[in-house]
């Protein structure tokens, strides 16, 4: 608790992009998220770590309007409860769901194009974004016409991130980006996340792989059984013995 306040004090001048207050999510009589609150500030990489079933994915799904919830989620001051799920992209939030959410029957290029659905700027600018994505992920560039269902796990993850970039949002929600990837690949993905963030995109990610997530994160929260039990900067949390014990197996 004290840590949170300290964190808040240190960063209070940076505007809050996403604010979550008393969020609660239940599936039947299972309470997946029990009244949590935290803020994500502009330009941050915020990481939510925790074991399987701790409620992390539920949180992201609540933010992007996929499931009902109690509590308040505000993005840039707008209460997201009043916003339909498909309008979120035009507000600036893009969600890369668990398992990538790639449309396997569409080609790589089509998946990327789908990311531009809500964009109103000209074809020229959009074309530049394609090039930017290809630059970031050369592998995708070689496979533009390939059905994305045949890509490997790592390539699909890259495609999912590339697609998120195509919507030019301010904030990207990433659900378990390293899942199913080899450590080398996961590391690369985090490198790319880092780079995207340097270009000004705020990132909220959820991860089981604590070590990688905390390395990348500016702000981290530990979730256990639907509640936030610890938070602080990534570096602080890595060093925190409780975290290490629970999640790093030390």
């Amino acid at each position: 608790m004290a840590m949170e306040k300290l964190f808040e004090q240190r960063h209070s001048e940076v505007p809050v992009l996403l604010s979550i207050k008393n969020l609660a999510v239940s599936y039947g009589n299972i309470r997946a998220v029990r009244g949590i609150s935290f803020n994500v500030r502009q330009g941050q990489i915020a990481a939510l770590i925790g074991a399987n079933g701790a409620g992390k994915s539920s949180l992201l799904r609540a933010v992007s309007g996929m499931i009902p919830y109690e509590g308040e989620i505000c993005y840039k001051g707008i209460n997201l409860k009043d916003v339909a799920a498909h309008k979120l992209v035009s507000l600036g939030i893009t969600h890369v769901p668990e398992g990538r959410g790639i449309f396997g029957n569409l080609t790589v290029r089509e998946n990327l194009t789908l990311g531009t659905w809500c964009r109103r700027d000209g074809l020229e600018i959009i074309k530049k974004d394609y090039d930017h994505v290809v630059e970031l992920f050369p592998r995708l560039g070689e496979r533009m016409g390939q059905l994305s269902g045949t890509l490997s796990g790592g390539e699909q993850q890259m495609l999912a991130i590339g697609r998120a970039l195509m919507s030019r949002g301010d904030m990207i929600l990433l659900d378990e980006p390293s899942m199913g990837l080899s450590p080398v690949l996961a590391d690369e993905i985090f490198g790319i996340i880092d780079e995207i963030n340097k270009h000004g995109v705020t990132i909220l990610l959820v991860e089981q792989n604590a070590y990688m997530a905390l390395q990348a994160a500016g702000y981290g929260c530990v979730m256990e059984n639907g509640e936030i039990t610890l938070d602080g900067t990534g570096a602080e949390l890595i060093e925190n013995p409780r975290v290490r014990q629970a999640y790093l197996g030390v």
Binding site: I30, R139, G153, S182, P183, V184, E188, G191, A210, L248
Partner: protein, 807 residues
């Protein structure tokens, strides 16, 4: 007012708990119908409608068995009705002597039902493999085909129809048959076989894993269902005294469907209600004339929208449900199929897995898994996501057939057996994503587990023989005692879907236990549990081993749970076993810590890749030692990679297409590591061939983000055009600057001295000083071979001795 309501409630309760009253009413009703029809006490029209209601009840009930209780989508039920109608009519008109027609009537009806049941086999067999929409098509086509066939048989009048039946169907007959149908189907549903049917609906895979023979169950359900449809058809024919193929077309099937879904799937009362309401409404709305068939479907649509499960969906009238009170079990004749005495000597190997390998398409999920599990042990299988743990379980339990390898349980080869057979031999499992029978009660979930243990058959169930009653009581008692043993007895009558999470996991284990296994496979049983719950689970597993003499195999991510629970652990990573031993060994195993927990540190760690047909390295996983800052600096100063030269006789060969930079590597099948191919391309862009001697390894070092260095190892494979990514490791280093470097470790020779340009060879030892030249054979285990700053293009080099040397 409230007091009056309460009193009413009490009376209703008292009434409901006296099931025998149902029989009283039935008897009274039957007598009443005899009296009524004999003395013409009611209007003929009303009597007709009542008979229609009865026939429709039988139809709805029979379809509900397949569509509601088994969850299939059979759309052509009128086809079975037709078979029964025509069959019974042929017998009563053309075969049985007319003076005895009244006595022969029941036989004709039964015969019609039997014929319909035989026809059901035609539809049941496709249902083994297909479900849902495709089964709908099959049943629909069946309906059409029956109609068409009948149109072409002149013996029964063809399209003109069949006349000549006497009006043998009377109100008492209809009542009797309706009562019999309700009774028989209700008995079928509330029995062992009925639970099997429900398990097919709820989760066929879980049912099979609990030993349910889904084929037998499906066949029986279809046969019983069509029998009664045939009976209804026979009654119908002898009521109308005229039938034609048109009578039994898709419109009739649609009517039956409507009755079932209107009244509610999976409910006897629902079918009765649906039939009654539909029939009565159709007649009542006759006043609307043509518009009644407009109003009717509109009401149906509205009902579906607001109550998608129908009026009584999945709920049941209390009189139809069996008594929950456990009756005394007479010890006279135990009905449980005896378990074979233990064949394994305590301490013998209960499970032997050899060379188990499984591919999904080109991706290797499990590679060469070996295990000898002694009876009575608790064994843990751990590894990161996607490492093949659940695949292993699926292979053992029979859900998948392995590409290679064998599984022997208790000395029996079970590799290609279906899951329910494997379960009956003694292996039970739980599932990663909890596959309970959600719409069944807790106690019913457990009773499904006893499917194979029970001795009686479907006929005994339907007739409620004494043997059945005793056996069922025993099953129930065992189920309850099992539940109480594991402290979920208080949830016994609760629906499985309403249980709290921890209890659901526990129920799954109890259900598996009900199948009386010798080996229990638990797939992530502790997922989502807090430390207290985890502790309770650990105790539970110990109990299973001690009290039930089980051998247990557990998959988990929860390190402390596994370490605290298991006697032996095997660690998987990308389908390959990277470590095996006792918890203390595993806990401190470097490779495991780094591979599994995602930690990075000074040392490399190895995990083997997932390439087809690659031999594992001869001397086990690689550990190339610490890369010190000095080495890293040296690495950083090096430029792009260099190719090696031949020297030895035996070569493993890697061909890399180098024609165009940026082009896809041809002749190489990737192992699917996206970014890694970039470096290989970098190498490939400069060289025609990389040759490695057998058993050698080629390492690539690549700079990753935040100044980390990734090391990737290549090794040659059996087939020419495969390479394997075998080692991947990440460790932090702040000194690396350049991108790629080639590092060969092993027996392969390095470049000959007469090369163009200076070649700084750096070894870790050398790195302390400056670059030192090294030539000749490398016998040190750490050699770094590097290339001058400018990559030399192959085309620029002259062929020396026929070899394309670029060094």
């Amino acid at each position: 007012m409230r007091a009056a309501l309460n009193k009413l409630n009490l009376y209703w309760d008292a009434l409901m708990s006296r099931r025998y009253l149902l029989f009283v009413f039935a008897g009274v009703g039957f007598l009443a119908t005899i009296v009524v029809s004999r003395y013409g006490l009611i209007d003929q029209y009303v009597e007709l409608v009542a008979m229609y209601v009865g026939i429709n009840i039988i139809l709805a009930l029979s379809l509900n068995l397949v569509n509601g209780y088994m969850g299939e989508f059979s759309v052509g039920h009128a086809g079975f009705m037709a078979v029964g109608a025509y069959g019974a009519s042929i017998l009563s008109v053309k075969v049985f002597p007319s003076m005895y027609s009244m006595w022969c009537f029941p036989f004709a009806i039964i015969a019609g039902g039997v014929m319909a049941a035989a026809a059901a086999v035609v539809v049941a067999v496709p249902s083994f493999k297909t479900r849902g929409d495709y089964l709908a098509i099959v049943t629909l086509s069946f309906n059409m085909i029956v109609k068409s066939v009948l149109e072409n048989i002149d013996f029964v009048g063809g399209p003109r129809g069949f006349l000549g039946m006497e009006k043998l169907t009377t109100l008492p007959w209809v009542f009797a048959w309706t009562a019999i149908s309700i009774w028989a189907i209700r008995n079928f549903v509330y029995s062992n076989i009925g639970r099997g049917v429900l398990s097919v609906r709820e989760d066929e895979m879980a049912g099979a894993a609990m030993g349910v023979d889904t084929r037998k169950v499906k066949l029986l359900a279809f046969v019983v269902s069509s029998f009664f449809a045939g009976v209804a058809g026979g009654l119908y024919a002898h009521l109308l005294q005229f039938i034609s193929p048109r009578t039994f077309d898709i419109l009739k099937s649609t009517e039956i469907l409507i009755m079932v879904y209107l009244g509610g799937v999976g409910s006897i009362a629902g079918s009765i209600a649906g039939a009654v309401i539909y029939t009565v409404l159709i007649e009542a709305l006759r006043v609307l004339g043509m518009w009644r068939m407009v109003v009717m479907p509109l009401l149906l649509v509205l009902l579906m929208i607001y109550r998608p499960k129908g009026i009584f969906g999945y709920t049941e009238f209390r009189w139809f449900k069996p008594a929950t009170r456990k009756k005394k079990v007479s010890a006279a004749k135990p009905c449980f199929v005896a378990i074979e005495p233990e064949r394994t000597v305590q301490g013998g190997d209960i499970l032997v897995v050899e060379g188990l390998t499984h591919y999904f398409g080109g991706l290797c999920a499990l590679s060469d898994f070996n295990l000898r599990l002694s009876s009575g042990r608790i064994m843990g299988i751990i590894g990161p996501n996607g490492s093949g743990k659940t695949t292993l379980f699926n292979l053992i339990s029979g859900n998948y057939r392995p590409t290679r390898g064998s599984v022997k349980f208790d000395g029996i080869e079970i590799t290609r057996m279906p899951p329910n057979e494997i379960n009956s031999l003694g292996i039970a499992r739980t599932f990663q994503n909890i596959r309970l029978f959600n719409e069944l009660t807790v106690v019913d979930n457990v009773r499904v587990g006893m499917f194979n243990a029970v001795d009686y058959n479907a006929t005994a169930a339907m007739l409620r023989t004494r043997g059945f009653n005793e056996c069922e009581a025993e099953v129930t008692e065992r189920a309850y005692s099992l539940l109480e043993l594991f402290e979920i007895g208080r949830y016994a009558r609760e629906l499985a879907k309403n249980l709290p999470y921890g209890m659901r996991r526990r129920l799954e284990i109890v259900r598996a236990l009900a199948t009386r296994p010798k080996l229990l496979l638990l797939d992530e049983p502790a997922a989502g549990m807090n430390p207290t719950e985890t502790g309770i689970l650990m105790e539970l597993v110990h109990r299973l081993r001690d009290e039930f003499r089980l051998t247990v195999m557990v998959i988990e991510h929860h390190m402390s749970f596994i370490m605290g629970l298991c006697e032996r652990i095997q660690v998987l990573d990308f389908g390959v076993t990277i470590a095996a031993g006792v918890p203390d060994e595993i806990k401190n195993d470097k490779k495991v810590i780094e591979a599994y927990l995602g930690k990075s540190g000074g040392n490399f760690r190895t995990n083997t890749g997932t390439t087809k047909n690659c031999r594992t390295p001869k001397d086990g996983p690689t550990d190339v030692g610490q890369i010190t800052p000095e080495i890293a600096q040296a690495i950083g100063r090096q430029a792009a990679p260099v190719r090696l030269e031949e020297g030895d006789e035996k070569y493993g060969r890697l061909h890399i297409d180098t024609v165009d930079k940026g082009k896809r590597l041809e002749g190489i099948k990737k192992a699917g590591y996206a970014g890694t191919d970039d470096f290989i391309q970098d190498i490939a862009s400069n060289y025609d061939e990389i040759r490695m001697s057998e058993g050698s390894r080629l390492m690539l070092i690549k700079k990753n983000w935040k100044d980390k260095i990734a090391v990737i190892e290549l090794r040659p494979c059996e087939e020419d055009d495969y390479y394997g990514i075998t080692t991947a490791g990440i460790f932090r280093n702040d000194y690396a600057k350049n991108r790629t470097l080639l590092w060969d470790r092993g027996a392969s020779p390095i470049a000959k001295p007469e090369q163009s340009g200076p070649l700084p060879y750096v070894t870790p030892k050398d790195a302390q000083g400056n670059n030192a030249l090294r030539t000749g054979q490398s016998n040190a285990s750490d050699n770094i071979i590097s290339k001058p700053a400018e990559p030399v293009k192959p085309s620029a080099e002259a062929e020396i001795n026929g070899n394309k040397d670029v060094l």
